[in-house]
């Protein structure tokens, strides 16, 4: 175990969030069993009061998780100097079997949290809490995720062995290797950019359609998720190469380094923000016909869609800027 302040901080956040979500889950069970908005009983009054506490708790938890996600990546980046063979976060995440699952779980939790908070916000705006059971049932389903995240994080940090020679991004993200990372790196840049363009058209179309007709929020959320995946593929197979100005360096983490102008943050933050907003708009869509939500959901969904489209636009502009500004020219090779 490496006793490093950032590791301690990450563990503290994860443990605290687990504790708070566990507390919230106990309350969630009570709500699911006893909630009755028409009752004037002492219990119902207590439950109603307590929902404020739980919403605040969960909101803080997910905010902390967001900070922890950034800290986790940044910490992995910094720890790369302590392991033989690691040159960026990739090497550190490779140090044992838990690194990548923790990262995926953290990203998953970020999206789940964003979706839950949207649901919560919509529900709190309606006078009769129409979604209270749905949202607390969803909260219960988040508990195993949070618990798994804590367990994996602990396992990741406890099993860090500085003697292990890990592999750097250069050997993982290479078209000749095996596995998903290698497959993605092997995609031709032209194909990746074409896919990126197609996904941009699809998601913009879906978004505009949703804005105009008020329908198709699920389609928009789905296409946004697809756009996120394709964007990540495009970053690995093409955009990152232009940022590094190197035709064979595919790493999705080295772009977060200061030496490359922190371009990674300008790419990832709008991209993930867009998906989080779109997922929020998708998760509330099935409830838009509830009478007390009929006036609320379309407005919220509209705002989210506008926000998501704007964020995506920023992402595409940054990606385009990265490619156009680059000194790397592959005119006769790739294009």
């Amino acid at each position: 175990m490496l006793l490093n302040p950032s590791i301690l901080a990450l563990l503290v956040v994860s443990a605290t969030v687990l504790l708070l979500i566990a507390l919230a889950s106990i309350f969630a069970l009570r709500v699911i069993r006893h909630w009755d908005i028409h009752s004037g009983s002492e219990l119902q009054l207590q439950l109603e009061r307590r929902t404020y506490l739980i919403s605040t708790l969960v909101a803080y938890c997910f905010l902390a998780e967001l900070v922890a996600l950034l800290l986790f990546i940044y910490n992995a980046e910094q720890m790369s100097s302590q392991f033989v063979g690691a040159m960026c976060a990739t090497g550190v995440l490779n140090i044992n079997a838990y690194g990548w699952p923790v990262l995926y779980l953290k990203i998953g939790l970020f999206f789940a949290g964003a979706a839950w908070l949207t649901l919560n916000r919509v529900d709190n705006q309606a006078f009769d809490y129409p979604l209270v059971r749905v949202k607390y049932a969803l909260l219960l389903s988040l508990l195993p995720l949070v618990a798994a995240e804590f367990a994996l994080l602990l396992a990741f940090f406890l099993n860090m062995d500085p003697d292990v020679i890990t592999s750097c991004c250069g050997s993982l993200f290479t078209p000749e290797g095996k596995g998903v990372a290698a497959e993605i790196s092997g995609i031709a840049p032209a194909d990746a950019l074409a896919l990126l363009g197609a996904s941009a058209l699809l998601v913009t179309g879906a978004g505009l359609h949703h804005l105009r007709s008020g329908r198709g929020a699920l389609l928009f959320a789905g296409s946004n998720l697809a756009a996120l995946l394709i964007a990540l593929i495009a970053i690995v197979s093409c955009i990152a190469l232009y940022i590094y100005e190197h035709p064979h360096h595919h790493c999705p983490f080295c772009i977060l380094k200061g030496g490359h102008g922190f371009m990674g943050y300008y790419l990832y933050i709008p991209l993930f923000l867009a998906t989080a907003l779109a997922l929020g708009s998708g998760i509330i869509a099935p409830f838009r016909n509830r009478p007390s939500l009929a006036g609320i959901i379309p407005a919220v969904s509209r705002r989210h869609t506008l926000g998501a489209l704007a964020s995506l636009l920023i992402f595409y502009l940054v990606a385009g800027y990265a490619i156009l500004r680059s000194n790397l020219s592959m005119l006769t090779v790739w294009w």
């Binding site: 006793l3 302040p5 605290t16 404020y52 900070v67």
Partner: protein, 377 residues
């Protein structure tokens, strides 16, 4: 401005005026909070400065150092090992080094004596580090006399005061010529303290080290990267230990914050009652309290961080120096290079603001659900 933003602005405005109405109560909290941030931030900034100092020093050091071991102890290495090792592909340059330590009873301190590669001083001259010059009270052209290994007095004229980029290296350093060094320590010709190898390509380092072990089985190669990694790990670890020790203080602070937040005075309770009677909702009161926490946290964080910055970079972390740096009589007076790191700030944030926020959620909620008629009756 959109109405949502305007609402938050009014809430913030109200919060500020309400904080200003009770300066005494909040000042105590702010003081403790600032102190906690200050302590943790000082540790972080200082260890980071030490680490970057180590990295800066090692940047210039050779890629591989070969030491001979006799019965598990570091011993002088014969010069013919250079021939024995032969030409290893990838090694640009190999040579022997002469250096050692000398205890000076006059100031009860250890000096590091070293023979420089180039521009060796004349036989009876030395160049000394600034700290030695200050401790012995000598300047350029003055004479220093030292007693050698076989108790012969040696007199040296100071021909230069070293001003290296990093005080950590040069503080206790004495440079002298090879012949004088051998005479002074009674080291015969043909022996070196260790051998150094320069390697251009970092990827070849491990292979070269393996070849060295095969060719010269009684030696150990030390890679610069290995040293750097160890420094990195050690400084992180020291920092972690201090943080664990400070966990008690953070916990005490959390309890203090919890207590402060739950111990609302009758007047405050009444205020919340009035607000709710005026039409504020529970969520609004929570929001207002959230802003209160944000203002206090931000203020404490900024103040604490700035104080820590001044402490570390202007006074060289006078409070923690001995613990984190280690100590020696001739310790270098080094001014750390100011550096602010995002990771540090995020970590610090999680160690201070996060516990404070978690500790105050429940008391805030308790206050916010107060019924107006209950408190105003």
């Amino acid at each position: 401005m959109s109405s949502a933003l305007r609402k938050q602005r009014y809430l913030l405005d109200y919060t500020l005026s309400s904080l200003a109405r009770r300066p005494g109560k909040n000042l105590g909290l702010l003081l403790v909070y600032t102190l906690i941030v200050f302590m943790l931030a000082s540790v972080m900034l200082f260890t980071h400065a030490l680490r970057s100092e180590a990295v800066a020093i090692l940047q210039e050091s050779p890629e591989i150092i070969v030491q001979r071991l006799v019965a598990g102890r570091h011993d002088l290495i014969p010069a013919h090992y250079l021939r024995k090792m032969g030409h290893i592909r990838g090694v640009l340059e190999r040579k022997g080094r002469l250096w050692g330590y000398f205890f000076d009873p006059a100031v009860k301190a250890n000096y590091t004596l070293m023979v420089p590669d180039e521009a060796q001083p004349a036989a009876d001259e030395i160049e000394i580090g600034a700290t030695i010059a200050a401790t012995r009270g000598v300047g350029l052209g003055d004479i220093i006399s030292l007693r050698s290994a076989d108790n012969r007095p040696f007199s040296f004229r100071v021909s230069g005061i070293l001003d290296a980029d990093s005080q950590l290296v040069s503080a206790d350093l004495i440079l002298l010529s090879e012949a004088t060094f051998r005479d002074f320590f009674a080291i015969p010709e043909g022996l070196y303290t260790d051998l150094v190898l320069r390697v251009r390509n970092p990827r070849e380092l491990r292979t070269i080290a393996e070849k060295l072990i095969l060719l010269l089985p009684d030696t150990r190669p030390i890679l610069r990267d290995e040293v750097l990694r160890t420094y990195d790990a050690i400084f992180s670890w020291r920092q972690g230990i201090v943080f664990v020790l400070m966990a008690g203080a953070v916990l005490a602070f959390v309890i203090f914050a919890w207590d402060k937040a739950s111990g609302l005075s009758g007047e405050e309770r009444k205020e919340i009652g009035v607000l709710k009677a005026l039409g504020w909702e529970t969520a609004d009161v929570i929001r207002m309290k959230f802003w209160e926490g944000a203002v206090v946290s931000l203020l404490a964080f900024l103040l604490g961080y700035l104080l820590a910055y001044a402490h570390v970079f202007y006074t060289s972390a006078a409070l923690f120096e001995p613990v984190l740096k280690g100590w020696a009589v001739l310790y270098p007076e080094f001014a750390p290079i100011p550096y602010i790191d995002l990771l540090q700030i995020a970590t610090l944030f999680i160690f201070t603001v996060f516990p404070y926020t978690v500790a105050t959620i429940i008391p805030i909620w308790r206050a916010a659900i107060t019924d107006p008629d209950l408190v105003m009756r």
